[in-house]
């Protein structure tokens, strides 16, 4: 490494590595000491590296954090015995092994697999993963997930307490349990990505960071041969295809640009290619991924050179197949949108009439927005306006309301 230069986000990424490794050594129950030690290490670096950055910043940080944890253990009388174990004899030699690169990665995987224990709430897992794996502060998490800092703190505390109380082991489960747990880990990664990708009102910096973290964690799983399967490759492919479009889908104010109006020239080609390769790889495995349908749809969108050239028939087909396997009312709504896109208004109406509106929950406003589209297609402008106004009255997102109002004005 060129002296005097450290890579972007090194501290944040290193935080996850340091916390994972130290947690594996000292045990999850000492997470507070560990997090303090890691924090102290960064602050030490802040002062020490002002005049010169060490040749191997990562190794420096890791070593300093280990020393600092041992110091903290030493200060805590109840834990002195433990400290002796870590600094003397064969155990200390074994510990040194854990600082090798592949062991550090292994520790990170163990930690995320523990965090994704099925008994924990997904929302708590998300906050805890951002904290321990990705080195976000509570404040940063609150900003990224649009929550109160207090809520984030509560979720993290609750999740940590659960892991300690249940003595959840930091290990990757074997056999059947492995598949289930991997699925859970992937779901959390998927949630993390969606937080960055789908909700509006966030700065592009926050979007990029959340999506970047999701990609990074997914890649970490793919690096382990025994964890690879169609599911992981499908999710990674899906995330790449989505991430490639990230820059084109948000305007300068952080507002979403509808697919129709996106400039496809700014889509990131290398990521698209990586996505395609990953999806191709997934075909070599026998398992069937719940992410496969969504990936196939994303693939169709990226294939189209323009919005007008989108192969809606194929996409509709994928939605229908997906609905058979994973029934979901949002899917039905998407099918109606495509029928409208194709000009088959009768089909769209039929689809909308089969939809279970109650199951849409807070997304019910979308139902009315789609209905408005359909009525517009049929040139029933007055009725369309009424539907759109209903949609606006049921919508709680400011950005979405703005979007719907613009539409209303254009009618």
């Amino acid at each position: 490494m060129e002296p005097g230069h450290i890579s972007d986000h090194l501290f944040r990424h290193q935080y996850g590595k340091m916390v994972s490794t130290l947690t594996r050594i000292f045990g999850f129950e000492h997470h507070q000491i560990i997090e303090d030690a890691v924090q102290d290490t960064f602050l030490l670096a802040l002062k020490k590296w002002r005049t010169a950055i060490p040749d191997h910043p990562e190794a420096w940080l890791m070593h300093a954090a280990k020393q600092r944890s041992i110091d903290l253990f030493r200060h805590n009388k109840a834990l002195t015995k433990r400290e002796e174990q870590f600094t003397h004899g064969s155990m200390s030699l074994a510990i040194d092994q854990l600082f090798l690169d592949h062991e550090v990665e292994d520790s990170q995987l163990r930690l995320i697999y523990a965090i994704c224990h099925p008994a924990l709430k997904a929302q708590d897992q998300l906050s805890l993963a951002l904290k321990m794996m990705s080195g976000f502060s509570n404040k940063e998490i609150a900003k990224a997930l649009m929550l109160k800092e207090e809520t984030v703190k509560k979720r993290i505390t609750r999740a940590k307490k659960f892991i300690v109380d249940q003595a959840i082991r930091l290990e990757i489960p074997l056999g059947e349990a492995l598949l289930d747990r991997t699925q859970r880990v992937l779901e959390v990664i998927y949630l993390l990505f969606n937080e960055g990708f789908h909700s509006s009102g966030k700065t592009s910096l926050i979007r990029e960071e959340l999506c970047g973290e999701a990609l990074r964690l997914c890649k970490m799983i793919l690096k382990k041969e025994y964890l690879r399967n169609a599911n992981v490759y499908c999710l990674f492919g899906l995330l790449c295809l989505h991430a490639a479009r990230l820059e084109g889908k948000v305007d300068q104010d952080g507002q979403l640009i509808p697919l129709k109006e996106q400039d496809r020239r700014v889509w990131h080609k290398p990521l698209l290619q990586l996505g395609l390769d990953s999806l191709a790889k997934s075909a070599q495995y026998e398992d069937h991924s719940p992410f496969a349908f969504e990936a196939a749809i994303a693939l169709e969108h990226t294939k189209a050179k323009s919005f007008e050239e989108t192969d809606w028939k194929t996409i509709l087909n994928i939605y229908q197949q997906s609905h058979k396997e994973y029934p979901n009312e949002m899917n039905v709504l998407s099918q109606a949108v495509i029928h409208i896109q194709l000009g088959s208004f009768a089909e769209a109406e039929k689809t909308l009439s089969t939809l279970n509106q109650a199951a849409l929950g807070s997304n019910i406003y979308l139902f009315h927005a789609v209905k408005a589209e359909l009525l517009m297609g049929r040139k029933k402008i007055d009725e369309a306006r009424v539907s759109l106004e209903t949609a606006i009255s049921l919508c709680s997102s400011d950005a979405e309301i703005r979007h719907l109002r613009n539409k209303l004005e254009s009618y």
Binding site: F42, L46, K47, K48, F136, S137
Partner: protein, 114 residues
Amino acid sequence: MKKFMMLFVGEDYPELGLSPEQIQERMGKWFAWNTKMREQGIIATGEALTYKIKRVVGPDRVVSDGPFVEPKEVVGGFYVIQAESFEHVVEIAQDYPDYDLGNSVEIREVMVFE
């Protein structure tokens, strides 16, 4: 050329709850500032200080431990640099990275005895 001391006054970082990302960003700014001054060849010396304070007072040399002042008034580090004037140092001090934390730079001229 005269000699000046820039004293950095303010709260210690641990009290501020900075995230790893913010720490790295701040460190980058300190590093850039240091490099800039070094390239100009104006640094005589400079150190960061720990926040532990002991004070020896009075004819009986009574030793006491801090804190003696408000946390935001503690000196956390210094540079001694060569510059033409106070105005020149003020200009150099523009790049001090921690103003946004409420910290400040105090400038003093080093006295010369002929």
